[in-house]
């Protein structure tokens, strides 16, 4: 049957493509415009964004400012740096997000030499803490950029936000979306939030699994067991990591020399002559195959 082409030439001629990053599904331009727009009477003062993005195995936290040439990253912290501080498992959970946010905050403050003035929240984690402006300089201000994540209560981006806040950054926020906020009371339960920051939810899951399905516990948490991390000492592990981060947040440059030959990810474009010779070879191969194989009806078109 004759099927009429649905998308004819006029369709394509009138089609307006969305922006590249929108087509890739990576940038929400509506949010980006509102985050980047700086008051004109502040001229070139940068407006910093605290960017948090999650991949399947990693957490990226960056402090970025926008410019016409491209966004400039002031400092970045990844959760794959946490092994340096002693955390090798569970690199994408709420507690790891908290550690990454904390690491980024301390790193930025150290870079700007503000880390003495703004120590951040050292105890009573879990409560809503905002930086108090010190006498000499105002605190470092950034705006949270979640990207395309659905901002539900207890999302890991807010774990990273809490880490940055406790690290000493000034990020406007409310406690409505922290883990442990109950809609009925309209209050943040600091105990529950503190539990999440120290991996308490992971620990309780470990305990239930150990009782009900020990084999699943062995398979699911095998890496934890290998390192001797159980539900009871999970909190201490995270406490040690927080202390290590506060002690030395500087980034370490990896010594990896550039590869001698640049790796190619796409096929090299052939010249006209190369393409013609390739075609001739292909035709010859087809012809010889056709003459050998009497039944085949391959034609050299």
């Amino acid at each position: 049957a004759f099927i009429k082409a649905q998308k004819a030439k006029p369709y394509f001629k009138r089609f307006q493509v969305k922006y590249k990053r929108r087509r890739e599904g990576k940038t929400d331009y509506r949010a980006r415009i509102r985050l980047i727009n700086q008051d004109k009477n502040k001229y070139n003062t940068p407006k910093y964004r605290f960017v948090v993005r999650f991949s399947n195995k990693d957490i990226v936290a960056q402090i970025t400012s926008a410019s016409i040439a491209g966004d400039m990253v002031l400092a970045a912290a990844y959760s794959h740096e946490l092994p340096r501080y002693g955390l090798e498992v569970g690199l994408t959970n709420y507690a790891a997000a908290y550690c990454t946010g904390l690491l980024l905050a301390r790193r930025v403050l150290k870079m700007l030499e503000m880390d003495e003035e703004y120590q951040g929240n050292l105890e009573s984690l879990g409560e809503d803490y905002s930086v108090e402006p010190a006498d000499s300089r105002r605190p470092f201000r950034a705006l949270l950029d979640v990207g395309l994540v659905r901002t539900t209560t207890g999302n890991r981006v807010f774990g990273a936000l809490k880490g940055a806040l406790d690290g000493g950054l000034d990020i406007p926020h409310s406690d409505k979306r922290f883990a442990g906020f109950s809609k009925d009371n309209k209050q943040l339960d600091a105990e529950v939030h503190r539990k999440y920051i120290f991996g308490g939810h992971v620990a309780s899951y470990m305990r239930t699994l150990m009782e009900d399905e020990p084999e699943k516990y062995q398979s699911h948490f095998s890496e934890y067991i290998k390192r001797g991390i159980g539900p009871d000492n999970l909190e201490e592990v995270y406490k040690k990591i927080h202390a290590a981060i506060l002690a030395d947040p500087t980034a370490k440059k990896t010594e990896k020399e550039p590869p001698k030959q640049h790796k190619r990810f796409n096929l090299k474009k052939l010249t006209y002559d190369e393409r013609k010779t390739k075609l001739i070879e292909r035709l010859n191969a087809l012809n010889s195959a056709a003459s050998v194989d009497e039944d085949g009806d391959e034609d050299d078109e």
Partner: protein
């Protein structure tokens, strides 16, 4: 019913977005900074409804006299009757582009300062004035063949048009 002379009358095509350029506007318009004294072109962006200037100012160029949170004050010349008034309007940054009208002047300023500094170092005087194009220099025509053209005598028999 008569046509009406509202604020945005007769702007159906003027304020329309160009073909295949609808939707979000590129972010560089928000990232540009403007200083007092800059020259800017006013070009209305129909996608943004706030801070639109009147259609008269579309395509005008003026100087910045004020910078506020989201808008810019531009001083534009408008002819009213028999005089030109300097009108001060406020326009949102989406409807404004930096003007290139004095770009050549600014580049020339920089170049001339450089030339003058170099000349001073060498100790000689130079003039950096622009000169209009002078007459072309004289040249000799080479390899010309002289051809003398004379009229041929009129021949009644052959030259009569339309046949005889």
């Amino acid at each position: 019913m008569p046509a009406g002379h509202g604020l945005r009358s007769r702007t159906r095509d003027l304020f329309a977005r160009p073909f295949r350029k609808k939707g979000y506007i590129p972010l560089t318009t928000y990232l540009r900074t403007y200083r007092i004294g800059d020259y800017v072109d006013i070009k209305v962006n129909g996608a943004v409804h706030k801070g639109m200037p009147h259609k008269f100012y579309h395509g005008r160029t003026g100087r910045v006299w004020n910078v506020t949170k989201r808008a810019i004050g531009v001083e534009v010349n408008k002819q009213v009757g028999n005089r030109i008034i300097r009108k001060r309007i406020h326009v949102r940054v989406e409807h404004v582009q930096p003007s290139r009208c004095n770009e050549e002047f600014r580049q020339r300023k920089v170049r001339n300062d450089q030339l003058k500094a170099e000349a001073k170092a060498r100790g000689e005087k130079i003039s950096t004035k622009r000169l209009p194009e002078g007459p072309k220099p004289g040249f000799k025509v080479e390899g010309a063949m002289l051809e003398t053209v004379t009229p041929i005598p009129y021949d009644v028999v052959n030259d009569l048009k339309g046949g005889y």
